[in-house]
Symmetry: C2
């Protein structure tokens, strides 16, 4: 593991993006979002994804120059077209717009068609919360999860985010996919020769199993809540596709490079529009206090609220440099060496 | 099991409510929603709940005369106070208002404090979809689920609804609680001497189990998706409480009769405001076709979309009379015999 100062990381990612053909200002924001993902400890979705992102841009699957446009608007609802641009920039713009609509109308919604992978889902929850908005957002994805009653992957894992803004900046941000374990996690357990801590899918005999290799063989990973997560994945996809007028999971193919043109929903509510934010915030504080007062099963693993550990990790990475795993850093150095410009 | 013609059931429930002190017009709507729940096959949340509802009204926990009022409004967002009135009437009014706001502004949201149990969650999803709106709604509940990392129930099972309107009325409505199995379901399996089909909680040794009795002993029922559903339950409660300025789960106590003053969120989006509904509906149709084309594990249990079986059950109950289990019907007859008036 290496530790790179956050500002340096941000600048170097920005430079790679600029030299790859992104406008400098857009590259600076994308660099900040990407480096910020590693800074917050979500290492799978930060610079680890850069090589794939730039490969997709080279292949024309992502258009580095494209920005989303508004297709139609009506009061607090807008329909956007992402034009296959960089997903993080488009999602940043869409959630910012949903919050602006919420500040103007109480509630705001942007439904975006034809965007690309937005990298870390939670980014847009934090973004909304920083603007004092409660928010929900989700994206559809390629098919990587079998619907309940089938062994054939046909649903996306469709990450879903809920954000609750706090007055002190310690926002509550839940960011979760519809699969109990990602394929990345299954791979890690298998590499380490470990069983999953809980059943994560079905083996070839159709039995629930904690064996990561068995699940990688069948592709029958478990949706969260079994039939419930299967249903949730389906409605998130249908809503994202139909509200945006965009693609649904079955339009997206099955490999990572097919994951372009995804549909996304951004919903924001401005609690301060109808109440004293300070009063409402004291209710959230009580919910947190109540969770923290519950007897834990073990002192080392107490009940936490979603996002609770992010600020601690962020602080640590800002002080000590952003922690990056060696192979990810090696791949980044290779990118730096190879991008033209 | 008995079968009672829907119109008769509706009229008899309405009569019981009227004789219990509800205004006739409100009783007629409540009777329709209650009988409609049994008609749609959700037998746990229809007339089966009437005895408890009327007992709570007698004890003053629910105020049969109370209607919600608007506390504050700003554009497409309203904050309501339910004044401890009948939860189904209040939720019906709140979702109707959210849809009216959506038709006017594109998106609409009502955050309601101090309501009571809304009976069948899906009712309000169907209501929104009937008005051409996509919708989300949820309620908090008493603590009946341990947060991840604890064995002590401190989260609600907080039912959550997503609705996608269809042009042909065959709406997609997902209605699910945060617990993998309800205590009602655990009880049923135990009574029948059966194991759960999938792990549903932890036993006294802290192992995941399919034994309903063991889970009833520990009260450690599983949240859907384990830590994920625990996080989701927490944010739904925090959002419901803070957006409405109302109670959170930890304010509600632990027994069914404490479940008054709950907080609820109703969110509606009008897809027709920014697009041709017919075009968007064809996207939803493709999502359904795609799900139906997936190879099933068994011909008798094919992948279905949420709400798919409701219209078939509704049709059957309308034709043959609404199916009601004997003990539920006996309890209803006792209510009829005993209410004054």
């Amino acid at each position: 593991m290496v530790r790179i100062p956050f500002d340096e990381l941000k600048a170097r990612v920005t430079a790679v993006l600029t030299r790859s053909g992104m406008d400098p200002q857009r590259a600076a924001l994308s660099g900040e979002l990407t480096a910020g993902t590693d800074r917050d400890g979500v290492r799978t979705h930060g610079i680890a994804r850069l090589p794939r992102f730039l490969a997709m841009a080279r292949e024309g699957a992502i258009d580095l120059k494209a920005s989303p446009t508004t297709v139609a608007s009506f009061g607090s609802l807008e329909r956007w077209d992402g034009h296959y641009g960089p997903g993080n920039l488009a999602a940043y713009a869409a959630m910012s717009r949903a919050c602006a609509l919420a500040l103007e109308h109480g509630v705001g919604c942007v439904a975006m068609a034809r965007s690309s992978h937005w990298q870390r889902a939670g980014t847009y929850g934090w973004l909304a919360a920083e603007q004092g908005c409660a928010a929900l957002c989700w994206t559809n994805t390629i098919a990587n999860l079998p619907p309940w009653g089938s062994a054939q992957p046909a649903l996306g894992n469709n990450p879903l985010v809920f954000a609750v803004p706090r007055g002190d900046g310690r926002h509550i941000v839940l960011d979760f996919a519809m699969s109990q374990f990602s394929y990345g996690t299954l791979e890690k357990y298998q590499r380490n020769g470990q069983q999953l801590p809980f059943p994560g899918g079905f083996d070839e005999e159709g039995r629930m199993t904690t064996d990561p290799a068995a699940i990688q063989k069948t592709y029958r990973a478990l949706p969260i809540g079994l039939w419930k997560g299967s249903g949730l994945s389906f409605v998130l996809d249908a809503l994202a596709g139909m509200l945006s007028g965009g693609k649904i999971t079955s339009d997206l193919g099955r490999t990572a490079k097919d994951e372009t043109g995804v549909s996304q929903i951004f919903l924001a509510v401005s609690p301060g529009a109808v109440s004293s934010f300070t009063e409402l915030d004291s209710i959230t504080a009580r919910a947190i206090d109540s969770l923290h007062s519950v007897a834990p099963l073990s002192e080392s693993d107490k009940p936490r609220y979603p996002g609770e550990s992010v600020l601690r990790i962020r602080e640590e990475n800002l002080q000590q440099g952003v922690a990056i795993e060696d192979p990810v850093w090696a791949a980044f150095l290779e990118l730096e060496a190879n991008v033209s410009g």
